[in-house]
Structures are given as structure tokens and as C-alpha cells.
Chain length 282, copies 2
Amino acid sequence: MNILEKITNELDMLSKSERKVAEVILASPNTVIHSSIAALAKQANISEPTVNRFCRRLDTKGYPDFKLHLAQSLANGTPYVNRHVDENDTADEYTSKIFESTMASLELARKSLDANDINRSVDVLTQANKISFFGLGASAIVAHDAQNKFFRFNVPVVYFDDILMQRMSAINSRQGDVVVVISHTGRTKSLVEVASLAKENDATVIGITTTGTPLAKECSIVLSVDVSEDTDLYMPMSSRIAQLALIDVLATGFTLRRGSKFRDNLKKVKDSLRSSRFERKD
Amino acid sequence: MNILEKITNELDMLSKSERKVAEVILASPNTVIHSSIAALAKQANISEPTVNRFCRRLDTKGYPDFKLHLAQSLANGTPYVNRHVDENDTADEYTSKIFESTMASLELARKSLDANDINRSVDVLTQANKISFFGLGASAIVAHDAQNKFFRFNVPVVYFDDILMQRMSAINSRQGDVVVVISHTGRTKSLVEVASLAKENDATVIGITTTGTPLAKECSIVLSVDVSEDTDLYMPMSSRIAQLALIDVLATGFTLRRGSKFRDNLKKVKDSLRSSRFERKD
DNA sequence: AGAAAAAATGAAATTTTATTTCATAATGTA
DNA sequence: TACATTATGAAATAAAATTTCATTTTTTCT
């Protein structure tokens, strides 16, 4: 997609003159988007048709189309890159880096999600007799958050962040129950076991985990939340944030599916909190 | 900067014919960037010079320049914008909208944060005898997450999501203790009281809340996490996600401040979890 | 090495696209 | 209603991009 990267990659597929064009563009892309084909040709010391051929080789329709692609690459080139925190970073620097890589993770996670699986999950959740959310460690808070959210919907919902309770609950599950198992690594033994126990007892098991993990194999539906590997010591687990966003998605899907009568109920819950708060004056 | 917003804003500065152009562009900007001035003129049922004048009125050099701006807006326009979920959205649509507005919130929150306050917070946290995180509802899970994170640092840390425990803990706090109070609205009565109690008992109180709330007034240090108001029924509380990112920032600041010897310790904790997991084969 | 084929390149012609000019129409103002 | 102002489009012009085609360079094969 990013045309600047594409130019870099295909640099050796290009002819000598075309490479001159590439170099001029890579050197100052911001100037190029405001240049005519003639200006660029002159800058690179080659002829106009060569520039045109260069553009076509990059699968664009011609020079104007190429400029459009270039402009777009420049617009979204930097923002959501996963920049690593450095030991000498100032507060401002590491703050920016963490927020940005969190956003990058969200973007990745969004891409790894399949709308079909979300739809199916919302289906089974709306039909469920009882919903349980299980997680450990960082994923425990996601399970907890999910409980908070689904509690408002006035459906039987529990969450456990304790291995024994999870196991007991899984063993007692039955047809019509939905068990949502949350784990970034998808390799935590006890959670994988819990998932398979729940499945054996006829519950529908939804896994919120990374693609292709042992946990994923045990689930009825897998909601893949892939984020970049945290190879970096300083980098926080953005996986839990992506998982939370997914919980929001499921909750939203749930609300939409249940229709308008149901939404009034939601408003009531919101209003009931009012008296515990200081009034705002605006 | 964003030309689409600019068109929307200046819609009433435009003449009748120019507005027709604007409408066509707003309706399908993605088509327009691939249209010639003639095609666009025809589409809007006006003449080519009108299109040209329209472009100039938006402070661009002409039609090609306008298309460049438009292309850039489209490239980074969507992700940041808070698009609202609609009743008839497909799973794919509401998923995208939620992820995108979550990212938008993160961006807003990042802007509202002050590096100085973060620095001071990291200061007091590294010096603390004991750290407590308090939150209720959605913010409870943030407090919980903070405990998980800071627990690894081998410092005395607790979290409470229970009003009474929070209150008792606040009353028992003393000089050198740090109390972190988390609340998006900053108007939850019991939390504001807890903050002031802790302060009376000489604890340093860090507030993670919106600028200018009652809670903010009670705190020694305020970490402002402003996100857009959730006027929309379907829109989830992205505030908690922004708060989590801030916890990551504080934890990172903490690690950096403590220096390298300390980081070895962190690695040990990570390694200790290994035996509870299935090995990966890659 | 040298001839033939293939590929690359640019000058000029052509086509497409955008802009300017100017006359006319629409709108507002006294 | 008459005048001024502004808005608009047809046609002319200018600018930019593309195509054609002849020339040069490079590669391949003997």
C-alpha cells in the first residue's frame, strides 16, 4: 500500500534512468507532490516519458495518479508506528511512544478480527442462558470489564480470575451456556483445560486469543486478537487494550441485536448512578 | 488541515453552484480523487471554472492541488475521527467504528496529558513506601490492572474497588504513601471524599481524571485524561482504555527511573511464569 | 569480438486536463 | 426600476501528461 516502501523494495527492478527518478522522489517526496512531471524530469536529469514509465511500473495509472498515492503515503506514513522506548527518553517521549504503539496495536488487532466470527459470537451471546468470562493476570481485568458491561444488559453473567472457580464453573456448565476464555498467549495450561472442560459439558466456548494457539484449538468460536509481539522489555502488553476494545464491540453488537426496547433498559441503569455523583454546573 | 472538515465548515460561505460541488465531493470523496475536473463538473451539473473557483476558495492552488489535499485527508482522515455507531451497521462497520473511535480517544488523551505531571508522578511513585490504587466501576479494572503492573516491581501495592475498604485505607495512610484515585467523571462522591481523606492524612494523592472535576481539586497531582464526551448511547467508555495506557506510561516511567539493576528483577518475574504455559514450537 | 535482438531513452506530436478571459445571467441594493 | 455586484459558463488559451516513433544503449548469441 505505502508507495514509498514500494519504491524502496522495487528499486532493483528499475532501469538506470528510472532509478534516478526514484532517488529524487525518495530524497524529498514532499517537494515531488507539488512538482509537474516536467519539473521532476528535469530534477532527475531524465525525460518526461521516463517519469511516466516509472509511474506505470509502480502500478499507478500515470503521473497524476502516482502523486495521489504518494500524497496518501506521506499523510499516514508516520503516525501509528511501534516505536520502542529508549532508556534515555524524556517523559514526553515515552508517553508518546506508548500511546502510539497502543494505537498501532489496536489497528493490527482490528485487522486480525473477522466480522463473521463477531457476528456468530454476538448470536450465541444474545441467546445465552448464562455468560461466563474467564481470564488470568492481565486478561483477568478484561474478563472483569466484560462482566461490568454485560451486567448492565440484565443477563446472568459472572467472571472468574481464579483457577479453581473457573474449573468448577466450567464443569457445571451446560448447553445454552456461553463461556468466554480470554488469554493473549493462549498457552496458559489451566485456561486451555478450562476451555476444553466447558466444551465437553456442551457450553459454547468463545476464545479471545491469538490466532493458532492451543487455546484457539479448543474453542467453538475464536476471536483472533493479534498484536505485535512484545519483544521489547519496556513495551507494555497492549493485548489487553485490544481485548477491551473487542469487549466493547461485542457489547455493542449485543445491544444492537437486542433492539430498541432493550436500549431503554440500558438508559435506566445509566440514570440510576446519577445520585451518587456531584452535579455538574455546565 | 483536514480538507473534508474544512469543506463542511465553510459550506455556507459558498455560492449555490459551489455548494453543489461540495456536496458531490462530500458524498463520495474517494471517487473524486480519481476524477478529472470535467468529470466532477458534470457530476455536479456545473461548469469547470466553478470547480476551479471552488478549489481556490479552499485555499488550494487549483484542482490538482485540491485533489492532493483531499487524498491526504482520506489517508489519515478516517482513523482519527469519532464515527458514531448506527443501528443498521453491519458487524464489520461497528467493529471499525469502535476501534477507530478508541484510537481517536487515545489521541485526545495523549494531548491532554502533561509531561511535567507525569514526571512528578513517577517521582513520587518511585519514592513511595506504599502505593494504593482506587477506582469504582469501569475505573476499578484500571486500578486492578495498575496493581498487577506495579506488583511486579516488588513494591507494596494494593487496589480496592470497594468504598469501605478505600475509605479505611485512606484513613490509615501516612506520609510517604501514594494514593492513586481513578475516575473518569471525577464526580463520584465517595471517591472524592476518599481523595480528601487521604490528603488529610498526609498521603500524596494522584488523580487520574478529567480536567477541572471535583476530584481534580482534591489531588496533589492531577493526570488529566480527557476523552470526548460519550454523548452517544452506543459508544463505549473509551476513557478506561486511555487510563490503562496512562498506567502503562507510569509503569514504564517507573522502570526507567529505577535503572538497570531493577530491570533484571522484572525479567525474573516474567520467566517465573514460563512453567505454567504450553511450550511454543516455533 | 561483432552482429542481431531487445530494452531503454528522449524529441516531438498529440491528447488530455486545467485555467483564464470575457460575455451573460442572476442577485442584491438604493 | 435602475444600478451595482456577484455568480456562472462558453470558448480560448495555457499547461501538463501521454503517445509515437526514431535513436541510443545494453544484452545475447554466435
